[in-house]
Symmetry: C2
Subunit: 233 residues, 2 copies
DNA sequence: GTGACAAATAAGTCTGACTTTTTGAAGGTG
DNA sequence: CACCTTCAAAAAGTCAGACTTATTTGTCAC
């Protein structure tokens, strides 16, 4: 997805970040910069830089004479891609996946509606191409090929919406889709109904039918919710 | 909203962050740590910590032998509360406000639907109280009192949804609502129809009527979109 | 033109000394 | 006993300087 641990402070983050988001240090836990620096065998300067980054993510708070205290989960910057990645990699994975899928179910239909209004001809073409790619890989256990086109499809929708906040969720959605294929249960070929829906969404966007694009995308996300047993009784 | 510039590195961020998000340094611009340290009259250590934070927000990228280069806007962590605050405080304000309002229009209806299912009795009570507070302050230019209850109302909806990602948007929504009252055109008393809608949403949530809560909230957000001339033709 | 090599550059790292804020305890006073 | 003041310790914060390393760029020979 993106930045692997660059530099010493990056390596420290790759260890400390996951540990904190995994709840290894409960909220209120106090760490000391010097001790951490010793533990990771880095200088205080490097350790301080790492702490500053964790602080900017609202994972910890650094106070004089007290130390570096872990903040309660409710205060974390849960939209930070790095935080999302750490949580997806840890024990929190199922919960994080559910949160993100609910988020998708809210965002993507609206994004599709906007895409139907704002998408360029090129984006429409790419979208159709992706949908066709999904169809082509929808049978015969070609899950990887399917996934690539699925991720591209949703990324284009989010980008074509013209809303920068939606566009920035492209990576997150890709992560969720990849997770479904690689980690969750996805042994069989994808649901034919879902594939058809994607083709229809591409059609609706091409034709500028915002209401239909929104409604069809809503059906797709409802399917995603059902896969995780997040029902609407 | 939150953390004012704590420590020297915080002060540097309070100046550099807004400057970058305002586009004062176009994408690709190269800064040098040493020069910045001189300019802000701080040590290199402090400057490095500030750069690390900007880097974690994906505003800049630090590379050896090159310097600190400003990244294109499309890569910024636009969900970072600090980045949102910086942009709301700068020339980007109108665009940021539009982005956030569209985001609200996607999130809040879904959140209200979930709140109707998950809200505790206490949350329902608080919600009703807020709605009544809005009614009580809806006439006679009591804009500040109205705003306080409006912000609380939407925060409760987002929290009661039970989704952590929704909950974390409470601050952002509050910021948007406050902006509307303080900076944008909002001289007259609020629209009576909007006030009624809030009361009805509180009712629907209390009664556990998810579909109605969602639909009513959608009407509220449509109103917010119309205020900014973001139409659905 | 191409490839290898050397120099320059700016970030990265480490260390040690010093400052500042905060807290908790000790001790004095009503 | 309660309350306030004072003081000392603890940990983060800051700074300055020396050194390392990766990367780019330019040069020279082939």
């Amino acid at each position: 997805m993106s930045t692997p641990g660059r530099g010493l402070h990056g390596h420290v983050l790759d260890t400390l970040g996951p540990a904190i988001t995994a709840g290894e240090y409960p909220p209120g836990s106090v760490l000391r910069t010097d001790e951490l620096a010793q533990r990771f065998d880095v200088s205080r300067s490097v350790m301080r830089e790492a702490v500053r980054v964790l602080e900017s993510m609202h994972l910890v708070e650094s106070r004089r004479r007290v130390g570096v205290t872990v903040r309660p989960k409710a205060e974390w910057n849960v939209y930070d891609p790095q935080v999302i990645r750490w949580r997806l990699a840890g024990a929190d994975r199922p919960g994080q996946l559910r949160s993100l899928t609910v988020l998708r179910s809210a965002i993507e239909p609206v994004a599709a509606g906007l895409a139907a209004r704002h998408a360029t001809a090129e984006q429409c073409a790419e979208l159709t191409e992706c949908a066709l790619g999904m169809v082509a890989n929808s049978r015969g256990h070609r899950l990887e090929g399917y996934l690539v086109h699925d991720m591209a499809f949703h990324r284009i929708i989010l980008t074509a919406s013209g809303n920068e906040m939606f566009a920035r969720l492209g990576d997150v959605v890709a992560e969720v889709l990849a997770g479904r294929t690689h980690h969750e249960v996805m042994f069989e070929d994808p649901d034919p109904a879902a594939v058809t829906l994607h083709v229809q969404v591409a059609e609706a966007v091409r034709e500028g039918d915002a209401a239909r694009a929104e409604e069809l995308t809503r059906e797709i996300t409802v399917g995603a919710l059902q896969e995780l047993d997040i029902l609407a009784p």
